[in-house]
Subunit: 257 residues, 3 copies
């Protein structure tokens, strides 16, 4: 069963995503725990830094797709899943008072990559693998998640990742601006980075984070009509085809309907 582990030592919290046998894929309960945990850590002013990682050699494989049939099966449930469940969790990380360092090894795809992108600094093992291969699952990136990806890497990289749906290595992820640094021992490097951050003045770190968020320039929010159009895939034939062929491990056949 999925869980989040949290360990605090020397004012540095380590948060570990864990879902054994599922590459740490996140089910709804884990997304909710992620929000609650980061909200609680954000309120703890004794902290200086948070390290975010996965267990057993992987960061996270994204959403738990087996769950889609129950939690993301029509327009209402899909909009709630993305605009509420995932959005609140990702926002809790990016709005966290303290600097967040993602230590990435193994699989870091889909929602896992989005979690990493909500951190402030991303460090990856050379063997880590990245991507958002949801075009084969029959759906586009949800609007709020697209906006966050665009703010991080710009339109060319975001569309390349989404249109091709390739899974690529850490060197390419660095090249694309998705991660800041490669490190053979990613967990040691993340610890050293957190220690460097913890040695600085915490009020300064918090104000730097706050100002960087304050100066974001965002497009006007989607209208309700645009929002429904962005989630219309939930009632498409291709979405059902994509998810069922993923679960059945057969190649999907999309018809554009």
């Amino acid at each position: 069963m999925g869980a989040l582990l949290c360990d605090i030592r020397d004012s540095i919290a380590s948060v570990t995503l864990s879902n054994p046998g599922k590459l740490n894929a996140l089910d709804v309960a884990m997304w909710q725990q992620l929000q609650q945990l980061f909200s609680a850590l954000s309120a703890d002013t004794s902290l200086r830094c948070i390290i975010l990682r996965g267990t057993d050699g992987n960061f996270a494989a994204g959403a738990d797709i087996a769950e889609f049939a129950s939690v993301r099966h029509d327009l209402a449930s899909g909009m709630h899943y993305h605009n509420h469940t995932l959005a609140l969790a990702l926002q809790a990380i990016s709005d966290c008072l303290h600097p967040v360092v993602a230590a990435i090894d193994g699989v870091c795809v889909g929602g896992g990559l989005e979690i990493a992108c909500a951190a402030d600094i991303r460090i990856a093992a050379p063997s880590a693998r990245f991507g958002i291969p949801i075009n084969r699952l029959g759906f586009p990136l949800a609007p709020g998640e697209m906006q966050a990806l665009l703010a991080l890497v710009g339109p060319a990289v975001a569309l390349e990742i989404l249109l091709e749906g390739r899974v690529f290595d850490a060197a390419e992820a660095k090249d694309k601006g998705l991660i800041q640094r490669l490190a053979d021992d990613v967990h040691a490097e993340a610890q050293q980075t957190a220690t460097r951050i913890a040695r600085g003045a915490p009020l300064a770190a918090r104000m730097n984070k706050q100002l960087a968020r304050r100066f974001r320039v965002l497009a006007a929010p989607l209208s309700e009509e645009e929002m429904r159009a962005a989630f219309a895939f939930l009632e498409s034939i291709d979405y059902r085809e994509g998810v069922s062929s993923f679960l059945n491990k057969t190649p999907p056949r999309f018809t554009g309907s």
Copy 2:
């Protein structure tokens, strides 16, 4: 004479820029055809992807400068040329319903580079050459085209390209974020990329493109006074000096007037 070729196979359209002996430079008729062709392809919902390339080992050399004396010789004609003829063609590519992959070899400069930048994914041969060397022709980038370049690569890269006017190689273009990928056989790689895109759900690809455009954040449009100032070069001595020295293959002598 310049022309656009279009070939559709397996739901992938290949559009080829062709102007033999002129490095595929685009005259007004070609810019208009580019708009019409991409508008027609955009309306064809049976398509999954479009590949954009040039013929005979070059992408495109930009505008056909020999034509400037007739189509871009004063404020009114110059504003029509950029804000109407070029703007509509470039917009038809970037607004196209389907993902567009530019396969770039040889010369990709000026308007040719702008066409490539309107595509979603840019793949180049290592020997391709890039730049916007219009400072030697005596004119700045037109405002709409500047805005597109800034959205893709940011102010530092855009100004470096324009202020120096250097022509640079594909490795530097990748470094600058102008292209996504180098490939020895650029046309094979573009075909494989298009095939990967075509295997994904088309509605998802279209929504990803649409959302990335929707979330662009643009400055307020230029006032008419600003627009006229941006095109005032058309009535400058240096513009005539730049174009005539280019056509005469002599070094220009600019005076700042």
Copy 3:
């Protein structure tokens, strides 16, 4: 004593930051001279390009921290120092009519890096060193300076630089998009770059700069309350601890208060 040197040859001005024995750190008088000099150069339409460099093998070490006790010791003086003294100097560079090329060797940190970032093109010696290590001094980046850094390199790079406070080499600076080019002989390369720029049409160069600035998209200005919060560090214990431990060359002990 600190000073700015200016030498004009062949329509190219060379501005040299000089503060011997202090790695060209800028005191208030130098910031004011920087503003005055760039305003004067901007008004000289005979110029084609400006090269900005430091003397004696360093670009600049930033602000003169020994001066903080007198010029940046409380909320009012600190806001004046950043929002007036530094802001006007940095703006005079970025608003300068002519292209500005920064030639960077040695130390380029803090305010020195901000000066370089206000130039249009940055070229660095491989041995140059970069960073904004102010987290150990107990303060965040001032809001206007944060906004400029975000516009140049985006939120991920800006926060990595500020949260860790590392000093890094020129290869990493290029990787991060802080500089455009490495050159073993940085001053020769800057001169060649300026010469290439000077060979282009000056009105075109000026309009390219002007349009790139015009199309910047900025967040709403900070309210007075937000501005005071951004400068509240000036009355914190950690700020005094950071500055005094820097001057005493002892490690700071921050408490978050």
